[in-house]
């Protein structure tokens, strides 16, 4: 049986290859999605950790525990924490990166053994750090010994800082009169060495060596023996444990669990002890909050493709079997039982599934890493590679999908193996309406989709609120869109024959033989093409839809970011000031020293730069109510003081967001030094009019005035309203912004630290950091548009969406290409006899090609055009709602539907290549066809 099967496979190598491709794609997709999801989430988690470290400059995996005992008091708590510190990582199921125990006695007076001019008495803490020698470098003297010296000294090392500050000498000895050893003698130590950290970035030094200014470190075993011995609770010991969990080893699947355990850990509350794990708690918490949304979104996006894959396999296996009907009936007539036939095909399918599993996995992994670098729809590049690994989930998905495929492709066998050849032939001759048409599934599907659209469009506000609450894309919404595409595809199938018939009716009389034959072919046997036509429609429409979704969400996010950024680069340098002095002498004037501003001219990458001063001010307004009563009202407003001309040259973003062009606003402002432009909220909420004067006060109590020269709705980096949660309810708050002249403000408020807004030539922003570091300039803020945009593009939700939409499209395209090719090759094979007859009757090869070409137009081109239309309609209907899901918390600008014609061009280019390949194969097939051979086929 096996040999027979292999023979069969060889015989039908093309179809088998197509089946295999289908199965391989199935594995690649089924395994690819979980792998991609897993890799994306993992990367997001590690990004969160990195972000925390960058922001706080502390290692995110740090757990700090401290405990204190006083001569035996609180000892139980101390021991409990000490014990806990030893096993906490195990309990949290975290890997250890570093584990440091620091113990010290309370500071004690110690008398130097030397006669010195300066203080002979020092305050010193005897301490120990676990595993100290391995992490330090001795810069003077030597490391301590682990044993007491013969003359009864404890050897100690100190840090550089301690050594210098206390002005110690190498070999200096100290006697602690207050600390008595077991025999009642004072404790003596001898400083034998000075240490520093051997590696600047060593995580071991959670507290940098410089922070140990009073500690004299002795060997840990000696510390324990001398000061922690069971019977001698005569000392007060402080313990600090620095436990550094390996963040890289935290798998995202465990994040939730670990977060909960950390919460439990943090709730431990013992007297005299403390536990902190701020980084872990915060990062994991933030991650878990985002994870659900992303996971759900990625999952929803993949459903249509999986459904299509199943349909594809069903179609191919059906086609393959319809070619094998004769074979099956022959097998039956030779006495093979139904069971044997089913076993034969089952074996064949299983073999194929096995091969697909082996080939599909690496392809799936390759696709995932490729997708990890996707930056937009069908665009790859600057992103980082994902580290993709095979997971149990992926194997499970792939296996289930394959089993499904094996079963699905067996259904036609069950059908064919039970019926006789006569029945099959009779059935084949019929060209009846399909079941879905009888059931009006096309209308029903489209109807449901439109109903979905209608209900969602009624509920956009609700949708926005649920997104704000962190809910993922509503599965029903995406499903509606998919259903719409499917439904309109089926509608097209119903419609297409009428269109062809109408065209035929118009041209019937004058048609050349080729055209005549292809019209009749399409009209009479069109239903065979329906599956493949549906695939083409879905490929194109889904392609356009996916591209629009991807493009729109990214473009809107980018537009918003540009608006909120204001300029390519905004920095605030550190200004020296006399704040400390003013704090002591409130009567003194606060003075800032303005750093050199002209130095930015030296930066070739910066073409323009300007000063922008921003601060918060209080603004007193009067409101006149209906009965003429005036009430005073103080509001907090943002103040932005600018130099109009330079600001106009540098500022980014759409300048036509307001009623007037931004430049016009700036021109008006520039006409009067005392003029201000204010946000519309002053007009709508505070009743201000043009020409009114507003008075505002900064935090130092200095005031300034401004005459309102204009109102605006949008201003770079101005957020008109913000939503905050108060007592569980969303409250919308209006924000106020006053734009004034910098010189006027400096006159009234004095010289205060301003921001510098810069226009760059687009070079990588690292030039600025390098320049600042080289010259030793200190900045309290650096905000780069480039970095903000990069953040969007590498954001897991955006990138995952892009990646999956692209992957879906590529898969469908492959399916469509493979399916299209199979359909046509089979169709030609089936019709070889017919072509022979036509050729015998005198038709030229060219005419036969023309005929096939025209059939392609009816089947392919019609579907492409219709798919395009359906895709555009679906985009118009559903994208505005889908993108709500991707709105940023600080989305200011209205989200608009954005299409890039480059996407459409790309899409059609890819499809055109598919068609050209297909036609090339057909031409080759037809050209090599011999009439006499074709005719002989009919004589079998």
């Amino acid at each position: 049986m096996f040999r027979f099967m292999m023979q069969k496979i060889r015989h039908k190598k093309w179809l088998v290859l197509c089946m295999l491709i289908g199965n391989v794609l199935l594995v690649a997709v089924a395994a690819g999605y979980p792998m991609y999801k897993e890799a994306s989430l993992q990367r997001m988690l590690s990004d969160e950790f990195d972000g925390y470290q960058e922001e706080t400059k502390t290692y995110p995996g740090l757990i700090t525990m401290t405990a204190t005992e006083m001569k035996g008091e609180l000892l139980t708590e101390f021991l409990k924490i000490e014990d806990y510190a030893g096993r906490v990582l195990n309990e949290l199921s975290l890997k250890q990166k570093e584990w440091v125990a620091c113990q010290n006695l309370s500071s004690a007076k110690a008398v130097s053994g030397l006669v010195r001019e300066d203080a002979t008495e020092q305050t010193i803490k005897i301490a120990s750090l676990s595993n100290l020698p391995a992490h330090s470098e001795v810069i003077l003297g030597r490391m301590y010994e682990n044993t007491v010296t013969e003359d009864g000294f404890l050897e100690a090392v100190v840090t550089e800082a301690c050594f210098v500050e206390k002005n110690l000498l190498l070999g200096e000895e100290f006697t602690f009169k207050g600390l008595k050893d077991r025999s009642g003698n004072p404790v003596h130590i001898r400083v034998v060495g000075v240490i520093r950290n051997s590696d600047k970035h060593d995580l071991y030094w959670v507290k940098k060596p410089d922070a140990y200014r009073h500690e004299a470190f002795i060997a840990e075993n000696l510390f324990t023996e001398w000061f922690r011995g069971e019977e001698s609770r005569r000392f007060s010991v402080n313990g600090s444990w620095y436990i550094l969990a390996d963040c890289d080893s935290i798998r995202h699947q465990n994040a939730q669990e670990i977060k909960e355990k950390v919460s439990t850990l943090l709730s431990i509350n013992e007297v005299g002890t403390s536990i902190s794990a701020g980084g872990l708690h915060r990062v994991l918490g933030e991650y878990v909050a985002k994870e659900k949304k992303i996971e759900a979104t990625l999952m929803i996006l993949q459903i249509p493709v999986l459904a299509l894959l199943a349909a594809f396999l069903f179609m191919i296996s059906g086609q393959m079997l319809s070619m094998e009907q004769n074979e099956i009936s022959q097998l039956k007539s030779r006495g093979a039982s139904r069971g044997q036939i089913i076993r034969l095909y089952l074996m064949q399918n299983l073999l194929m599934a096995g091969a697909a599993l082996v080939i599909g996995f690496p392809i799936g992994m390759g696709l995932c890493s490729l997708l990890g670098s996707s930056t937009a729809f069908l665009e790859f590049g600057s992103g980082r590679m994902l580290s993709v690994r095979i997971t149990g989930e992926a194997v499970l998905y792939a296996t289930v999908a394959l089993l499904g495929s094996v079963f699905l492709t067996l259904i036609p066998v069950l059908r064919y193996s039970g019926v006789s050849i006569v029945h099959v032939k009779r059935k084949k001759a019929q060209n009846t309406k399909k079941l879905w048409q009888k059931l009006y599934l096309d209308f029903i599907t489209t109807g449901i989709a439109l109903y979905g659209f209608y209900t969602f469009s009624q509920r956009t506000e609700e949708l926005k609120a649920s997104v704000a609450a962190g809910k993922p894309l509503d599965p029903l919404l995406y499903l509606s869109a998919s259903l719409f595409l499917l439904g309109s595809g089926m509608l097209f199938l119903r419609l297409q024959p009428y269109i062809v018939r109408f065209l035929f009716f118009l041209q019937k009389r004058f048609l050349k033989p080729a055209g005549y034959a292809s019209y009749l072919q399409t009209i009479r046997t069109g239903s065979k093409q329906q599956f493949i036509m549906l695939f083409v429609v879905l490929t194109v429409s889904l392609g356009i839809f996916n591209a629009t979704v991807a493009r729109t969400i990214i473009a809107n996010a980018e537009k918003n970011t540009v608006y909120l950024s204001g300029a390519d680069l905004i920095v605030q340098e550190y200004w020296k000031n006399n704040e400390a002095y003013v704090a002591k002498e409130p009567s003194a004037e606060l003075v800032y020293v303005e750093p050199d501003f002209s130095k930015y001219e030296n930066l070739s990458q910066i073409s323009e730069f300007t000063k922008v001063y921003r601060t918060q001010v209080e603004c007193e307004t009067e409101k006149q109510s209906a009965d003429g009563k005036k009430t005073k009202n103080v509001i907090t407003a943002e103040l932005m003081a600018i130099r109009t001309k330079e600001f106009g040259e540098i500022v980014l973003g759409d300048r036509r967001l307001n009623e007037y062009h931004l430049n016009e606003y700036l021109n008006v402002l520039s006409t009067n030094a005392g003029a201000v432009l204010v946000s519309d909220s002053f007009r709508t909420k505070q009743g201000k009019k043009l020409g009114d004067t507003i008075t505002y006060k900064n935090s130092e109590g200095k005031t300034a005035e401004g005459i309102i020269y204009g109102f605006f709705e949008y201003w770079p980096d101005y957020v008109p309203t913000s939503v905050s949660e108060v007592d569980g309810e969303n409250v919308t708050e209006n924000n106020y912004l006053v734009v004034a002249h910098l010189s006027y403000l400096q006159e009234h408020f004095g010289m205060r630290p301003y921001e510098i807004w810069m226009k760059t030539d687009g070079s990588d922003i690292s030039f600025f950091y390098d320049w600042a570091e080289e010259n030793g300039y200190k900045y309290t803020m650096v905000k780069s548009l480039q970095e903000s945009l990069a953040d969007i593009r590498t954001d897991t939700l955006f990138q995952g969406t892009n990646g999956i939409l692209t992957l879906s499209f590529i898969i469908i395209l492959l399916l469509c290409g493979v399916g299209y090719l199979i359909y046509w090759i089979l169709s030609i094979r089936e019709r070889e006899l017919l072509f022979g007859i036509l050729r015998a009757m005198g038709m030229q090869k060219n005419e036969i090609l023309q005929m096939l070409f025209l059939e392609q137009v009816f089947c392919g081109v019609f579907s492409i055009v219709f798919g395009g239309i359906a895709g555009l309609i679906a985009s118009r209907l559903y994208v505005p709602m889908i993108q709500i899901t991707y709105a940023a918390d600080n989305q200011v600008l209205a989200q608009t539907l954005i299409t890039d014609s480059a996407d459409t061009v790309k899409l059609f280019a890819v499809i055109a290549v598919m068609l050209v390949i297909c036609i090339a194969v057909l031409v080759r097939n037809i050209a090599s066809m011999k009439i006499t051979n074709a005719l002989k086929l009919g004589e079998d």
Binding site: A429, L520, I523, A840
Partner: protein, 226 residues
């Protein structure tokens, strides 16, 4: 006598694995206009090969083939296709109708191919009536019996008024009564339409029906009878 088709020393050699196979050996025949010529012989004797060459579907390896005195072996592919469209009609052994066309459309199609645009409808109806299928013009091939299909094929071969009709084993798949009816039809056509019909058969009973017959054996002409 005016000959419709003449051949001189036609040879046809097929390359086969490990050598050559000579399917036709020095065939020289002359078929007068308006005759019903029958090529007979066992299967493998070269009937169909000869027929394919006579019908300009295949080219001889050597030798000459004249249509009304013109050597068509020198014709280009395009010229041969034109010849087949306008001057020749084919009826094949097995069902050779175009499956997606009705009986009417099948017959009409040969006229479209021949470039006839005027009077198509009338001629199609005439031909279908001639073969006795005037009432089944709108039927699809698969809705008709083998004999009916074959008669549609004959009507199709006839419709564009060709000079020659080639029929390769037209009766092979028909029962003997239908076969006799088809032969009767052929004789009528020769008389009414002044067309030359060349057919192959291995059915001994039909051989006497022709005006001229040739017998082939192993690719060589064994006998010719008038």
């Amino acid at each position: 006598m005016e000959y419709m088709i003449e051949t001189k020393n036609i040879n046809r050699i097929f390359p086969v694995t490990g050598g050559e196979f000579q399917a036709l050996k020095d065939i020289s025949i002359s078929i007068p206009k308006g005759s019903l010529a029958i090529l007979k012989g066992r299967s493998g004797s070269g009937k169909t090969t000869l027929m394919n060459i006579l019908g300009a579907l295949d080219r001889p390896t050597s030798g000459e083939l004249f249509y009304e005195g013109v050597d068509i072996c020198k014709y280009s592919d395009r010229q041969r296709e034109n010849l087949r469209r306008t001057r020749v009609g084919f009826v094949f052994q097995s069902v050779s109708l175009i499956p997606m066309m009705t009986a009417f459309e099948n017959v009409e199609f040969s006229m479209r191919l021949a470039g006839i645009n005027e009077g198509r409808k009338e001629r199609v109806e005439e031909c279908l009536k001639m073969v006795g299928l005037g009432g089944r013009m709108g039927h699809m091939p698969q809705e008709m019996s083998g004999g009916e299909q074959q008669r549609v094929a004959i009507a199709r071969a006839l419709a564009h008024r060709p000079q020659v009709i080639f029929a390769d084993e037209p009766t092979a798949e028909l029962d003997s009564a239908t076969a006799v009816a088809v032969m009767k039809l052929f004789r009528e056509l020769v008389e009414r339409e002044k067309v030359t019909i060349i057919m192959t058969t291995h059915d001994v009973g039909l051989m006497s029906a022709g005006t001229i017959s040739y017998e082939l054996e192993d690719g060589a002409l064994k006998a010719a009878e008038e």
